[in-house]
Symmetry: C2
Subunit: 306 residues, 2 copies
């Protein structure tokens, strides 16, 4: 059975709606505001943003489908074999949620499909799937972390038992804040350039995309529900702001998607919706010895959760 | 008269002390905390930080003198003609001050000298001076901006009347937040790779370094004194936090010094002391039409101030 671009786009759009509805229900107060935008060179997106909720301080769920002539940057850095006539389609859903409560982790998900054609409406030269889900808590929480990795392992194992260990390691490697020698969070999975070789593998990779996308709400809802009412003090809040500073550092210094967007004249507000509502940078800040804040940094170091 | 590395270092260290003393006097409450640090491969620095003052929320005045074998990155990107035996010295003072009051601008200064020798204690292969001062206000202030540019022009004109227009333009080009199509602030001067051709030009370039360095306090003190007691409201404070977000974006995405430091295993806390104490990112935030906040963005666009 052929897997079409339209089918992938439809899935992604429905996923965006479903996730927003679930997050609104979890929040119980704020609702998503929708911005439709278009890209001059072709395509566009639907950015949905929630702000000032009971549970979510700022969050974005972004769908995009951009297409057109291959930008030079794409030709040079990503796709080999591109001709002057080549065109591309890139579609995906990306999510970053910054909760109010310091005990509810930041979550990030991105699932995407890239397609290169020899010409407009022409034959496929290259295509791949990529994506991932990862969690950036401020505090150690073994229950949440095991839950995350268990559900991701399950989402992977149905397709290939090498996926989870492989993509878990790629995630740990990617979300390292190198200059701090710190991890951004407790990882998850990260994968890219999964290329189908025929219609069967393409169908299977599309189903894997759905398996990852559909795991977002089961993963996050129980983590949110378990922690959203926990009481916290000023120290907890300040530590959350410091960790959000690290999140901003990672995204602005290292994140490939962010840099790609900034350099290809992407829609800035959709790219940078990932940045935290507030963040803090203190000079040479070190948590107290044996505090939960200090333990967090050790807890975030890559470990086998399964 | 020969200009020695020691003489330059002495000037920079004294400048650091003088500037800190002046800033403490302006603040009237907080004092600088001193961290001496050393670099494994050679040299080190003195980082001075003020936090939680009456006037200055967070500020750093950093002296460094690092030296040793040429790092590969330096060989590749900066210095031509480096041999395996080559060694370098880099010394400078860099300053970023984040004030409490939204009507007091952020100021940034960096003056530096780079020297490459054919071997430890050997002959000079290359050397240059670089630096600049620029201002990032949150609000338009013509008096402050003219004062800044008048004093910088004066500091330049004594040496070469082409310096100010040239370095003013370089500053405007450099401090552009490209992805926002916004300026970081109202500019100032920025220069690099000023290479002496003999002892006379070296003396003159060292004197130019001093002319810039010595203009810091005259520039900033009257701007601080004119604005530090101005009353402000919640809107002003929030706009300051949004502009600080832009400041963090610039430093993490574009600033060459920051990236160089992060990739060469520099002292992170001294490199990132430039980041604001608090910053804010709002989704798709636009100031009200005709508000002072909206006028600021137009005011920051490069203009001839003299």
């Amino acid at each position: 059975m052929e897997t079409t671009l339209d089918e992938i786009i439809n899935y992604l759009k429905n996923l965006q709606s479903d996730i927003c509805a679930s997050l609104e229900a979890l929040d119980g107060n704020a609702t998503f505001k929708t911005d439709k935008w278009s890209r001059e060179e072709g395509g566009g997106g639907i950015t949905k943003v929630i702000v000032g909720g009971n549970v979510f301080e700022k969050g974005g769920v972004n769908f995009s489908h951009v297409h057109g002539k291959m930008p030079d940057l794409l030709k040079k850095e990503i796709a080999t074999g591109a001709e002057d006539t080549s065109c591309f389609h890139a579609t995906g859903v990306s999510i970053v949620i910054h909760p109010v409560n310091p005990f509810v982790p930041i979550i990030h998900m991105n699932i995407r499909y890239f397609l290169m054609l020899d010409k407009e409406g022409g034959g496929i030269i290259d295509q791949w799937f990529g994506g991932g889900i990862d969690l950036s808590p401020a505090y150690p929480n073994e229950t949440d972390t095991r839950h995350l990795h268990a559900l991701l392992k399950k989402a992977c194992d149905m397709f290939n038992t090498t996926y989870y260990p492989d993509f878990k390691k790629q995630c740990d490697d990617y979300f390292t804040i190198m200059h701090r020698k710190e991890m951004r969070g407790v990882g998850g999975i990260f994968y890219d350039h999964l290329r189908p070789v025929d219609e069967n593998t393409k169908r299977s990779l599309f189903e894997f995309m759905q398996s990852v996308g559909n795991s977002f709400i089961p993963i996050y809802s129980s983590i949110v529900l378990a922690n959203k009412e926990r009481s916290y003090n000023q120290i907890n809040k300040e530590w959350q702001l410091v960790r959000r500073g690290r999140y901003a550092e990672f995204n602005l210094v290292y994140d490939r998607g962010t840099h790609f967007g900034l350099r290809t004249n992407g829609r800035i507000e959709s790219i940078l919706m990932s940045l935290p509502p507030h963040a803090e940078w203190r000079y040479d800040f070190h948590p107290d010895a044996n505090s939960e804040e200090e333990k967090a940094l050790e807890f975030f170091q890559p470990k086998d959760w399964y």
